[in-house]
């Protein structure tokens, strides 16, 4: 039943370019695919492992720059660029993650934040590599066996395929023994240690995998925008990922995916006023944290438990 629903939804999303001719709707759906993947990767780190990481923004930016630089400066193609983005991010995540994870969870949050800011400083100030605030414009459309992903509907198919691949992988990971170990680490790390499992490799692996997935998402999104500049590291993206995870319910895979798809449309709805958009975003985050810290999924879960208790009584 659930499987059928998922396959039907995925097929429907894939058929979108044939259902509508509006480039605007397809563009929003493309953002939804990419942002949902990034939110699901954040969910792996924050929701499952319990590590609130602001470094996702840095990985998103590194992924975008690595892909763009591979194509424009080092003469590789798009697919090599994505591979570079994933590998660079995994290596950086291991290098940053190891010292950051040795501290307590309070210091971890702030270290990852500092890392994200460091990345945006580098993007802005290392002018000889990144061209600084000028950015790298004119990114060419990627090609695969002579087929060019040139128009928005064509590029949408690429984003859709990546979303399927990444979400499928994350789902398999989260429901596997590794995923259950991550949840156990979040709930009671001392108990996990007592069971003879070292938490560090698991935490580090979750951090690095999320970094690689976010990086590739950033790389694809950059080529959709056809330009990368330091604004790609705007804190706005981090807020978007966070709000998706929190509204959906941290630690709930489908909650976050559904919230990701729905929330990607929210900035478009709020676009009536640039000035008010971010204020409303902040208010949504504040209201969600005060009213339902577990997100919609947590709220549904609590409701279901309450109903079961009532039935038993």
């Amino acid at each position: 039943m659930k499987l059928t629903a998922v396959i039907a939804a995925a097929a429907l999303a894939g058929a979108l370019p044939w259902l509508t001719s509006s480039n605007y709707i397809i563009g929003v759906a493309l953002s939804a695919c990419i942002f949902t993947v990034a939110a699901a990767a954040l969910n792996l780190v924050y929701g499952y492992t319990g590590l609130l990481s602001f470094a996702q923004l840095g990985f998103w930016g590194i992924g975008g720059y690595a892909t763009a630089l591979t194509v424009m400066t080092f003469g590789g193609n798009f697919w090599l660029g994505l591979l570079c983005a994933a590998l660079t991010n995994a290596v950086v995540a291991l290098a940053i993650g190891y010292p950051a994870l040795r501290t307590n969870r309070h210091a971890f949050v702030m270290t990852t934040l500092a890392f994200a800011l460091l990345v945006s400083l580098v993007a802005r100030d290392w002018v000889s590599l990144t061209r600084g605030p000028l950015g790298i414009p004119g990114l060419p459309p990627p090609t695969l066996f002579g087929y060019a992903f040139r128009t928005t509907p064509q590029f949408y198919l690429l984003a859709w395929a990546y979303a399927l691949l990444a979400l499928g992988f994350l789902y398999a990971l989260c429901t596997s023994r590794i995923g259950r170990t991550l949840v156990a680490i979040k709930q009671n790390e001392s108990l996990v240690r007592a069971q003879g499992i070292s938490p560090m490799p698991y935490k580090l692996a979750a951090f690095a995998i999320a970094a690689a997935i976010t990086g590739v998402a950033g790389g694809i999104y950059t080529f959709h925008l056809k330009i990368i500049d330091p604004l790609f590291l705007d804190f706005y993206y981090m807020q978007t990922f966070l709000i998706m995870v929190i509204i959906g319910g941290a630690g709930s895979f489908w909650g976050v995916v559904i919230a990701g798809v729905l929330m990607a449309a929210l900035p478009e709805v709020l676009r009536f006023s640039e000035d008010w958009r971010m204020i409303i975003y902040g208010a949504v985050l504040l209201a969600a944290m005060l009213a339902m810290p577990g997100g919609v999924a947590g709220w549904l879960h609590a409701w279901r438990v309450a109903r079961m208790r009532a039935a038993v009584r």
Partner: protein, 295 residues
Amino acid sequence: MEIDPLYLLQLTVNGIMLGLLYALIAVGLALIFGVLEIVNFAHGEFLMAGAFAMAFALPATGLSYWPSLFVAIFVTAVGGLILYELFLSRLQHGAFERSILITLAISIIILHAAQFAFSANPRMVDTQYGFDGFSVGAIRVTWTRVIGAGAAVAAFALLYAVLNHTQFGRAMRAIAQNREAALMVGIKPRAVARNAVVLATALCGLAGAALAPVQLVTPAMGQALIFKAFALVIIGGLGNIPGAIAAALILGLIESWIGGFFEIVWQEAAVFVLMIAVLCLRPEGLFKRGAMRVG
């Protein structure tokens, strides 16, 4: 490289003044972390609020420095009271991630509301002292910087006295050191937490007001400084007030020296590189919480 000793001395003086202002921000964060065990992401917006309060109070009081400074401190202290009563008091103890996301949301709202109300254009703030200064030999310092640094030192002395010699401050230290024991001897955590937040935001308002005549006032000015302050409290050891002050002074000096001799990129990156290096060597921060904590 030939180093002119006078130039180096000038950089050192500037660095100490910069470090004292960083310390005002970092001390507030350390105090809030020590008592509530949360990180206030909206702290930078309080700095900005202090600077804007100063910018508006100065023309109203005929450019007199001190009354405006007190207006700014009062405004941010009231803001801190509202922040605590409306939002932070609802948090259960230990809800660390939730506290971050709530204060982050508040920071987004205040920042963009300020941009909406005051526009993003930077504004200059003029005081009765203008750009006058005094010279010792070849070293020249403006009065607004000297007074800012002096006010910071006075605030630290006052904070030290309050924390060590009043019931108000002892209760704060008690909660920070052992929450359960403090509860048992009848200290109210809610009242103490409120006092700590108000005190921290007042210090932040002082920093903002002292910075206003020294640099340009923009809605985003808090953002740039707050991230450095986060790094500072980590370097100093979370919740450790002397550690935060020491780390801030060190950073002020390092930034000033680097800014004088190298490219500006390194000046901005120094704090993050320093933090990652400290975390690799001493994960608990330079000054571990425990041995010499005050907050």
